[in-house]
Structure formats: structure tokens, C-alpha cells
Symmetry: C2
Subunit: 344 residues, 2 copies
Amino acid sequence: MAGGSGERFWPMSRHATPKHMLPIVGRGAMITQTVERLKGLIPPERVLILTQKYQIKRLRELCPQLPKKNFFAEPMRRDTAAAAALAGLLIEKRDPNATFVVLPSDAYIKDAAAYRKTLKIALEAASKNDLIVTVGMKPTRPATNYGYLKTGKPTKGLNGVLNVERFVEKPDLSTAKKYLKQGGYYWNGGVFAWSVPTLKAAFKKHCPALSKPFSRLAQAKNFEAELQKVFPKLDRISVDYAVMEKADNIAMVPATFDWDDVGEWTSTARHHAKDENGNTLCAQAVLEASKNNIVYSGNKKHLIALCGVKNLIVVHTPDATLVCDKAHAGHLKELLKKVPETYR
Amino acid sequence: MAGGSGERFWPMSRHATPKHMLPIVGRGAMITQTVERLKGLIPPERVLILTQKYQIKRLRELCPQLPKKNFFAEPMRRDTAAAAALAGLLIEKRDPNATFVVLPSDAYIKDAAAYRKTLKIALEAASKNDLIVTVGMKPTRPATNYGYLKTGKPTKGLNGVLNVERFVEKPDLSTAKKYLKQGGYYWNGGVFAWSVPTLKAAFKKHCPALSKPFSRLAQAKNFEAELQKVFPKLDRISVDYAVMEKADNIAMVPATFDWDDVGEWTSTARHHAKDENGNTLCAQAVLEASKNNIVYSGNKKHLIALCGVKNLIVVHTPDATLVCDKAHAGHLKELLKKVPETYR
């Protein structure tokens, strides 16, 4: 799933170059890292990228190992439930009994070997059972910006797989702290392995509003024309809300790798060395009496000088500069409403 | 006097383009505004610019109405006492009894007519009397970054001129407040009118360390060679310290114009309209939950976006960006020590 709109890392990310196209953390664009991480587990001809039309050209450049036809454009953004259903339909056309895993394109994961091992367990479990197998990320802090998975007993007959008792919405801080203390809770990282029949059954049972149009789409004589007709009318709901929170055949493989979806500028600080004053400097920078700032520039010849400031995010790009207080990083969307279209 | 080093308005000002070459406030470079303000009082052929060698080319472009020979380069910076003495010597060569006025190149003054009227009174008083006639700026706030002039009785026989009882160093805030309450105190704006003989006598009496080398220089067969030899050894002292604080023949004309030396970034806010949240925006800017900031860019196509910040100075230039807390504006010199030479 690579269809982001490029708001959270503005001004570095833009409408035309969202986060997954940028080297926010790690080496290379996030999508490139994600595709390369699958090497040895899933052959390139079986990696499909679901995105927006205007992003395809650049994504093909960033993932040159994938066949051109594996980049597929949704007619427009309709959230993750529609994206997952569409992915299922595209895969069904290749193999009606295929098992596949839905992956976000822009998470940061260092241990690729452990990642592949975990996905392999999930895919094998999903291929032989009527299960939706998620991957649970081990929580390292009481995060309030992720949903949590409450695990139960080990799934009978499946080594390394746990039953999921329930999906829980993003908690408040005290609830998140409680989850960490209790144990058995994992972050929902948006990774789901399932077979095509399991996906279809889940949507049919829990989300007929999407299941019905996709059934029509599956039988359409002119797929592309029907897609353009059907898609704009689809509900904008997440796969979590549409299916996961309702289904009772959910299992989970605990991740053995570190995971971070790097959801906003403040998250980047976790992945870079800090200077002696807690500053994260991904730019040519000089600082005087300044603490705990995050400084980014794509142009290492541009000097960013901070004097007497703290807890700021400073991002320089050729045509726009952001100066944002860390505590107000959540207001970036409000700010963007005021930013002229040409800078977005 | 146009020899600034371009530190206080970095990164807009640089070594090669100090503040007086920039349109910090008002229209056109500060030096251009200063020279144009003299129109009608002093003919262009009598306006001399004392500067540094590397600045002459640009200054000639900024003041095209002045003859090329009126731009004179000091061999290096030696503070204002040496500059005033050198100016006196250069003017003495044209006319040993000339009266002239020393002016900073970069103050912001709106009422040019009142300015010329005040200077005319000072020049006429200085031309007919053995007086050093300063111009006193009416204090509008208890500033601690200016020296003050304590005035006494009106100078006998000179209309609009007051005796100066003493020059006082930059006061602390409570002293400055006391001065404003008492009245009779004026800001020292670095404007001095005197005749060449009065200047020479003042330096001879109060500052022999400068008077002696300048006497030798006046008699030198090869002026330029002697200047290069003499100048490096001169004391680095201000004209205030060298002469004004000691002399007893000082008079003052109270300015009838508004005056601001615009000494640092925070001063600029006094001369621009603010938005409803107290922000001074000299750039294309968008703001969310941000108050009392000063934003500058020479490139109106570059967007500066502020989110949740207050009391910042944000200055964008093509190769460097400054983000400085207003309360730390005084630390800019410390910051600049860390800035690589190529950005200075």
C-alpha cells in the first residue's frame, strides 16, 4: 500500500512525493527499503504496489526490480479497506487461492531477516487456515497513536502464532500504560496475511458495503471501466474498522524485529544519533544554546543556524521552510490548509 | 561611515554585504537612503563614504550620484575614532577650515526634511564656534543599547543648541528609566558636526595616541604608503570614548525627527505592520498558532511556515537559514563564531 498524500512530512513530503518516496530514515526511499526487505521471501514478480496514478512513474524508478505491470493505480484514495479488497481482487485474477500479505510501504525496520522470518510464519499460517494473520509489533513505549492487539492463547497447531482476543482502538496514555504493564498487548502495524477466500469471506460477512461492489467488479467485462465507476462510491473506512475489529478468526505472529512506522517528524529523532544537547541534525547545522531540536534539509550545502531555541522541528527545502514546535506537530494538518497548493 | 562587518543581520547581511547595503527597513539600501536624505543640504560632491576596500564596488552602485573618488577605503577596521580622524584628514586636504558632519550609514529616519533642518543647525553652530555639535535623539523608550547625552542650558547665542553636561555610557534598565523620567537626556546617535580645526584640537588634547600618527600622516609625502603603515597600529577605540566623554566643548541639537539605528533583528519589528498575532512578516509566510515572530526572506517565492512557535526570528536566504529566539538575539555573535567562513 503506497498511496500516501504527503502531509505528515511536509515540506519534505509533498502530494507528488509522499513519505514512502523519501529517505526519511534509513538508506533510500521507504518504499525501496520495504521492497528490498522482501528479497528472498517474495519474488519481485509477486510484489504488487497499490498507489495513485500520478505516483506510478516515480515508484517504478524507486523499485526498478518490480515488473511495470505490478504497479496499480486506484482511481482515488478510499482508505485501507477498499485498498485491501482491491488488492485481493487483483491477486485473485492471478490465483484464486493465493495467500498474500498487505504491507504498509513506509515503516522502518532494520532487521530484514527477522522480518522475513515473521512474515513467513504469518503467510504459512494463513495459507493453510481460514485465518487473518496479523503481525503484532512489540510495544516499546505506551504509544497512543497505534491500535493494540490483545492476544490470547497460542493458536492450536500453529507454531509461533497466537489467537487475537480483540482489536483495540488507539488508547489514551493511562490505558496504553496499563496495556504495557499487563503484557500480551501488541501494536497493530497494519500487516495482514490472508488467503483470497478468507479475505472475501471476511468482507462478505463484516463489510457488505464493500463486498458487494467488489463482487460486481470481479465479474465485470470491462474491469477498468467498472473500477472507475465503482470506486468513487466506496466507503472511506479502514480495514481495521471494516473487518479486523469484527472478525473472530484473527491470529497474530509476534514480530521479532524492531518496527517503527515513523508517523511524523518527531518520530525521526528515534533513528538518528543526537548531539550532546539532544538535537537531531540531518542537515548542515550550527547551534548556539539550542536543545532537543530536529533539523532536516535535503540540501547539505544549505546551512541551518539555531540560536537559543528548543524543541523545534526545522525543515528546509528549496521552496519552503517549516519551523514547528514539537508539541504542535499534530497541528501540521491545520497549517497545511493554509499552505498554497503550489507548495503542497 | 560605512564599514560594518555584517554580523548583526546575518544571514541576510554578510561580510561582503553588511546591513548598510541592505533594505532592512525603508526603501532601498540603508546607505542609499542615508545619501538621498542629504539631498538639498550637502551636494553629492561633498558626501564622502569611508568604508572597506572590498565594499567600494557595491557602494558605488548603491550611491551612483556620488563621484567615484568620494569612496575611500580604510586599510582595515579601527573603530570610529580612527575613522573620524581619517575623515577629518581627507576633508582637511580639500579645505583646512571645512566643517563637516560624521554620519552613520545605516540609521532609519523617515522625516528627511526635519533631518536636514537639524543637521543644518548643527553644521552652522560648528562652523562658527569651537564646538563639537552632536545631534541628540529623543528617547522613546528606556533603551539600554545607546549612550545618553545629558543636556544643560541653551548654548549662549546659538538658537536651537544646548550645552552637553556629559556623555553617559549605555545605562542599565533602571538608570535608563530614571533618565527618561528626569528628562534632559538624549540618545547619542553617533552624529557629530565639527570643523577640521576643532576636530584636530580635540584629538590633540584628549587622544594623542591617535593625534600623533594622524599628524605624521598629514605630512607624509606618500600618503597612501604612510596610511598603510600607520593604520594597523592605531588603537581600536570609539570616538565617544576617545574624545566625546572627555571634551568640554560639546553642544547638542535635539533631533526633530524620528530615529532608529535598527541595531539588530528585533529592532526591525518597530518598522513593519504586524499581523493580528503580533507577527512581523517580511516574507511569504503561513502561520498556525504562532505569535510575535519576525520572519524575513529576500525571496518572496520561498514559503516560510510557522506552527506553534512564538518570539522567534526566522530569516531565510538562498544558502542559510537562521532560527533564533528573540531573547537570544544577543547571542548571534557567539553563533557566528561557529558559522563556516563561506556563509559569513
